[in-house]
Subunit: 200 residues, 2 copies
DNA sequence: TCCTACCTGTACCATTTGGTACACACGCTT
DNA sequence: AAGCGTGTGTACCAAATGGTACAGGTAGGA
């Protein structure tokens, strides 16, 4: 049904770029086709179905996320707080907003079971926790604590990005992020929680 | 074009309930109609258009959020950390997940400009920051710091809910939330950051 | 009784939807 | 030359889409 080849690769790249900028919305196969400079016939040929196209776009999005992360992790030199600050500055950069809008749109659809977006959920948390926990352990955190802290960090970043995308208040979210980072700098070195349980 | 009346109220309630459980997805006006026990003709009559229906659903969702918040705020007796724990326990409760799935689905659509979801963005951050900053000031925080801390708290809650909805790992997100709350308990009382800027 | 507001069903509309059938062209091997 | 994998255009399909026209029902007030 679906095909492989250079033409397909080109289409995937074009689709990711287009969708990042314009979103998925209620766009039809034909609308995608004309926007991508091809025909709906070709999209069916290469991806089998509309859903197949969206799955591919979602997968490619995941890959972009990972690439950005790897890039930043490789360039790390200073202490972890500074890495976090640089990381956040990259995420909050206006140039990234189309990507993040798409990310949250697909995330939301995936949570509702949309088969065209579900692949995005694969490791959408764990992959980042793994990648963030590593530098934290290097900075001296105990393994279990590093994972918890990484998980919290991912949540803070995503929550503040949701805020930023809705309000556009860069200064406000920057201040909040700075408070978060500063909290760890002020707290006792091994700020391990989790021994105390959250009550219902 | 659009009408007002008890029948409409009934439809809005039914629509919110249905959409909370099944999401918006690509559902057609007719699918909504039969699911709501009415005809697509009636939805057009009461809401003018499909989009009008979704706007109303989004508005009602916002209201539900506020109601939950007000309820918890009114019942507050202990220190803020305990209020936060109770609050989180409510948010993380499995019964709330359909609502939260819908919230994030609509949030994502709104970020992409979907006119049927845009009303959700109105005060989607500020209303919560206002409501959280108040008990924080009562607990002794300086006004500006209370707002920053509230904003960070909203981000943490939303980020961890995204995590929870994707992974289902209640224990993991609970631990992360507990670490976040504990951070403020361990840090110096007036943990005001923001004097230091995030570099680009 | 008539009027008006609210509510609803049937039938219909043009347009668009995702997907298919089929013919065809290119470049490469055999 | 023949065959093959890859790619593409045209034409078509049944089904579904959002929305409308129109007719009518029911209640209450004048």
């Amino acid at each position: 049904m679906t095909q492989a080849g250079p033409a397909r690769e080109r289409l995937v790249r074009a689709a990711v770029e287009y969708v990042a900028e314009h979103g998925v919305g209620e766009r039809s196969l034909r609308q995608f086709a004309t926007a991508l400079g091809t025909s709906h016939r070709m999209l069916i040929y290469h991806f089998g179905s509309k859903e197949g196209l969206l799955v591919e776009v979602a997968r490619a999005m995941e890959q972009r996320q990972r690439d950005l992360l790897a890039e930043l992790d490789a360039a790390a030199t200073d202490g972890f707080s500074d890495v976090a600050r640089q990381f956040w500055a990259r995420l909050a950069d206006p140039a990234m907003r189309p990507n993040e809008r798409l990310f949250f749109e697909l995330y939301g659809r995936a949570l509702q079971g949309d088969p065209g977006a579900l692949p995005l959920l694969d490791g959408v948390v764990d992959a980042w926790v793994d990648a963030l926990a590593q530098p934290l352990r290097r900075a001296g955190a105990a393994p279990a604590d590093a994972r918890t802290r990484a998980r919290l960090g991912v949540a803070v970043a995503r929550g503040l990005l949701l805020d930023l995308l809705a309000t556009g208040d860069r200064a406000g979210v920057d201040t909040a992020m700075e408070q978060f980072i500063a909290l760890y700098e002020m707290a006792p070195a091994s700020a391990s929680a989790g021994s105390r349980s959250v009550r219902g």
